[in-house]
């Protein structure tokens, strides 16, 4: 038949070609009213009849069979709408209205199909939102439910519109056809899932950038190789490069879009039985030099985007994902991807590696911090806390050596990546005067070290006879949480937080420490630190103070100003003979490489804050918590070595954690630091040494400082 219809010719004799006879349900006049261009083409002789056009093009192009209805004209489901345009048209429950259909159904009333299975509750999705004109309430007397016509495939309708399935499960509609008659018709909802093949005479779309616009982040590259070919070409140059899902409800996606003309507004991700919507607040925009080059873009614009969201409940049920990128002008870009499924920990690590590696327009650290403001940082922190919570629940504890009584202190050491520090510290601390009154508690954030640590703790007990506790965690819970877990197993009232790369410089440091705790006023010993020295003999730490870095980030519309807190060490690199920074005095903060605290005070402060990711800033945070509670940290003259930075392994993911932590710390404490805590000579009343009436005391001098992170 197609060869007959395809040829433009004189009007054909329909009697001779019954197959060209339009069926009863096809109203040629209504079709032509609904498609004026077809009427014009028909008048030009391009088609033999309206039905001729419908069979060649109209069916595939979802052309309406009748003019669009007004909402007020929508009568009871199954009845013909009462618009003026359709007045007089036959109304029949078996007759299709002006809707997109693929095939005309026969005129028989089908039995009512079974309702679909209960779908998951609807999420916040624009598709669940009512259309601009308010729908009628579902319980209206006019909404008596008719049986759906035979041509209406309820299952296909629900597959094509998963949000309708959820609404149905919620009781918002009586049936799929009920939704269709109330909203689906006006919203031009598909009756069936869209066909995969490209339609005939589709408008030509702009070519996407050549060479599949290379990505810059490792996870997108890996995921991009897994993704199937995208669906019909979007009208706007764009790409969705990766979707990564985690079991607890984590979602991370990466892509780019040329939304210069019409900004990206929201993204909807749908899987089997679920839809998640990512609003602008979930998304982070970033630079993509590969896209800039492909598009020949000359202006500053963040074509790239990524989104990281953690939904309260698990939602993934397997299978591919369909993604709709919605632009402000109403354009919708469709993609279908096979998501990469990873653990919650791996998802966190992917995000933390992606952020510092992202391309930016300005200073990388500043822009990374700008990215982390607000929702993204909070999401990472929340996701990480859930991971930490699970890890600490799985702690394994074993004790070695004797259990002495009347301990003067519990030395807590957090290990990560380098097991040798357990036996090195055991050897170098053992036998020191006074250390026989101390226990050691090693907590490991590296499960792969567990066996070696157990061996070394056992041999250490044999050789040195120290009371030692080993806490093994099944993952990296971070510095704060790991130390908190370890402290819970301490047997004394005095907690010493010590880095694994700290060793005694004063052989009798333990005896001195015990003496200080016993003899000094309580205010000076609730929380105190010590001078620490590099292996080259110079001073590494004589206390810490706070400075600000004022930074600017580049936005398209403006230059944003930010303030980041920087932690500095007093006397970093100073000669060993200098006592300016080693004398006993109150200080704004002390390093977590060596902290001595009353256990009661430590617990009152809530221990280390567990919001920080991996490590960095927990020590300064604890000190500021102490200051805000009325107790200043002090420095007392106990001298130890600190092989700064050599005690643990640092990976790329930790860089991302440091960015998060600095942003978090700055957000929480910048205003508090404003009140007399900034700089090496802070004016805060708690930091004025009550003993400083000694005329021989050296005048305070500016401390040496360095830019960037300064953490022990």
């Amino acid at each position: 038949m197609s060869d007959i219809l395809a040829n433009r010719a004189d009007p054909i004799d329909l009697q001779s070609h019954p197959e060209l006879q339009p069926p009863d349900w096809f109203d040629e006049e209504a079709y032509l009213r609904a498609n004026p261009d077809v009427a014009e083409s028909l008048a030009n002789g391009e088609f033999r009849s309206a039905y001729h056009h419908f069979t060649l093009h109209g069916r595939d192009e979802y052309r309406p069979l009748r003019p669009r209805l007004e909402p007020s004209d929508t009568g009871p489901p199954g009845t013909e709408p009462q618009s003026a345009e359709t007045a007089g048209a036959e109304a029949s429950s078996a007759e299709p209205a002006d809707l997109d259909i693929l095939d005309a159904p026969p005129q028989t009333a089908p039995p009512r199909p079974e309702p679909p299975p209960t779908a998951s509750p609807p999420t916040a999705s624009p598709r669940n939102e009512p259309p601009p004109t308010a729908p009628r309430p579902a319980e209206s007397p006019r909404d008596a439910e008719p049986p759906p016509p035979e041509w209406f495939d309820e299952d296909a309708y629900l597959i094509a519109n998963p949000d309708v399935a959820r609404s149905l499960a919620n009781g918002e509609f009586r049936s799929p056809f009920h939704h269709f008659t109330l909203h689906g018709r006006e919203e031009r909802r598909p009756l069936r899932p869209r066909p995969k093949e490209t339609l005939v005479e589709r408008p030509q779309l702009p070519e996407p950038p050549p060479a599949a616009a290379p990505t810059t982040a490792a996870p997108t590259t890996a995921a991009a190789t897994e993704a199937p070919a995208p669906k019909p070409k979007p009208k706007v140059p764009s790409a969705l490069e990766a979707i990564i899902l985690s079991p607890s409800g984590g979602l991370f996606l990466v892509g780019w879009v040329n939304d210069l003309a019409s900004p990206l507004e929201w993204i909807e991700v749908a899987g089997s039985g679920w839809v998640q919507t990512l609003r602008e607040s979930n998304m982070t925009r970033l630079r993509r030099t590969d896209v800039e080059a492909a598009l020949g873009a000359g202006r500053i614009h963040r074509y790239g985007f990524f989104a990281f969201a953690c939904f309260p409940e698990p939602f993934d049920s397997g299978g591919n994902c369909e993604v709709l990128v919605h632009l402000s002008n109403g354009d919708e870009l469709e993609f279908e991807l096979s998501p990469r499924r990873v653990s919650d920990i791996e998802l966190r690590n992917i995000v933390l590696t992606y952020v510092p590696g992202a391309e930016v327009f300005g200073n990388r650290e500043v822009e990374a911090n700008a990215m982390l403001r607000g929702v993204l940082k909070d999401t990472i922190v929340r996701h990480n806390r859930a991971i930490t919570h699970d890890i600490v629940k799985g702690a394994y504890v074993e004790r070695f050596g004797p259990r002495p009584r009347n301990l003067k202190g519990s030395m807590v050491v957090c290990l990560y990546g380098k097991p040798q520090y357990l036996f090195l510290q055991s050897a170098l601390f053992a036998g020191g005067p006074g250390f026989e009154d101390y226990e050691t508690i090693y907590v490991s954030n590296s499960p792969e070290m567990a066996e070696q640590l157990l061996k070394d703790a056992h041999t250490g007990a044999i050789v040195y006879g120290l009371p030692q506790t080993l806490v093994l965690l099944p993952g990296n819970a971070g510095f704060g949480a790991a130390n908190n877990v370890a402290v819970a197993h301490a047997s004394s009232d005095r907690i010493l937080i010590v880095n694994p790369d700290v060793f005694p410089r004063d052989a009798d440091w333990a005896r001195k420490h015990t003496q200080i705790v016993a003899d000094c006023p309580e205010a000076q010993t609730q929380l105190f630190g010590a001078p620490l020295y590099y292996d080259d003999g110079s001073l590494m730490h004589g206390g810490m103070y706070f400075e600000y870095d004022k930074c600017v980030s580049l936005d398209e519309a403006q230059i944003g100003s930010h303030r980041l807190v920087r932690v500095e060490h007093y006397g970093k690199g100073a000669p060993a003979f200098s006592n300016r920074y080693t004398r006993t005095r109150p200080v704004p903060a002390i390093t977590g490489a060596f902290m001595s605290a009353s256990r009661a005070w430590y617990e009152k402060l809530g221990g280390f804050t567990e919001d920080f990711v991996f490590g960095h800033y927990e020590d300064a945070d604890l000190c500021l918590k102490s200051l805000s509670a009325g107790v200043a940290p002090w420095i007392h003259d106990l001298r130890l070595w600190h092989m700064e930075g050599k005690g643990s392994t640092r990976l790329a993911v930790h860089e991302g954690g440091s960015h998060v932590n600095r942003a978090l710390f700055s957000e929480r404490w910048a205003d508090f630091i404003d009140n007399g805590l900034q700089g090496p000579d802070p004016s805060h009343p708690l930091l004025q040494d009550p003993r400083e009436s000694d005329v021989d005391a050296p005048a305070r001098a500016p401390a040496s400082s360095s830019r960037g992170h300064a953490r022990a």
Binding site: Q420, F423, L424, A427, L428, G431, Q452, K455, D456, H458, T459, I462, V463, Y464, G465, D501, F503, D535, D536, W641, M643, K646
Partner: protein, 323 residues
């Protein structure tokens, strides 16, 4: 008085100077009235047949008062074993023997922390340590030869040691020094076989009041082999020692090749020694390739003869053939 001598390897199993000196001291002490010596010699996994299942310290070949320390889980950087059972066995061995003097001739394959454990188990015993090389100071096999340019090293420091091991930070050597010195604190008396070594260890920080020069004592085996009559040409050269990198056998072979290149073949070099398996891979390959090429020649055409290892009492006769 009971004296426990602790040796790196047993000379019967692995030839070497330190173990030979230790063993001869053991044999000499046997002859001294009032002295009851014991020997504890380490072995490593290169002698698997001597490891008995579940045992950590065993006897040796039916020999009276000679024992083997079956080293395992040994860390060759930090010089310690992580086998708790081995340490427990050693502590029990000490309690069983109850030596009055424990004389260490090495810590490699044993563990430097064995010294601290010895002090803990025997608080009143005298602990003696003899340095046979500079392993306590130098992580480069104890030779104090700089790895990056082959020059002699005059003194150790965190940065200088880092220069020999660029991949390791200076802090690593800072800690290593403290780790080893911590355990050496348990030693009552140190000895060195040369005055040069004495000065080097003094400079390193060993208390001069606690370290003495004591030359290596060996049994006088006399010269039972008659010396050959002097010859008109002195062209018979000999090497006696371990065939490892530091002894320079491969340098000697390169010298031979230089002579061949000049057309000179009227000489003989006799290589006497063993332990090629402890040479570095490149050095071992060089020696083995040379040996293979030389062995392919008719015997009369060979200039270099590999005589294998030797017992100490055969040394004189072998040396008698050398000019």
């Amino acid at each position: 008085m009971k004296v426990l001598l602790i040796s790196l390897f047993h000379p019967e199993l692995v030839r070497g100077g330190a173990q030979q000196i230790c063993y001869e001291l053991f044999q000499g002490l046997k002859e001294q009235p009032g002295i009851e010596p014991f020997l504890l010699a380490s072995i490593d996994e290169s002698l698997p047949a001597l490891y008995k299942s579940g045992a950590r310290i065993t006897g040796f070949d039916g020999r009276d008062r000679e024992f083997l320390f079956l080293s395992r889980d040994y860390d060759y950087w930090w010089h310690r074993s992580s086998s708790a059972q081995l340490l427990e066995a050693y502590a029990e061995f000490l309690r069983e023997i109850e030596p009055d003097v424990v004389h260490f001739h090495h810590f490699m394959t044993l563990g430097v922390d064995l010294i601290t454990l010895t002090r803990k188990v025997l608080p009143t015993a005298r602990i003696v340590f003899t340095f046979h090389e500079f392993l306590a100071i130098c992580a480069a096999d104890g030779h104090m030869v700089r790895k990056h340019d082959g020059s002699l090293c005059t003194h150790a420091s965190a940065v200088r040691c880092h220069q020999c091991f660029p991949k390791l930070p200076p802090e690593q050597f800072f800690i290593r020094e403290r780790w080893i010195k911590k355990h050496l604190e348990a030693v009552d008396v140190f000895t060195t076989p040369s005055r040069f070594m004495l000065k080097t260890f003094n400079d390193w920080g060993i208390d001069p009041k606690r370290i003495f020069h004591v030359g290596n004592a060996q049994q006088n085996r006399g010269t039972s082999a008659a010396l050959a009559a002097p010859r008109s040409s002195s062209n018979r050269f000999g090497f006696f020692g371990q065939m490892v990198d530091a002894k320079g056998v491969h340098i000697l072979l390169r010298a031979v090749e230089n002579l061949w290149a000049q057309g000179f073949t009227d000489f003989v070099v006799e290589i006497n020694g063993d332990n090629l398996r402890y040479a570095s891979e490149s050095c071992r390959k060089e020696i083995e390739d040379f040996r293979e090429r030389e062995a392919a020649k008719p015997y009369a055409a060979r200039n270099v003869l590999f005589n294998g290892s030797y017992e100490v009492d055969r040394l004189a006769s072998r040396m008698a053939r050398i000019d």
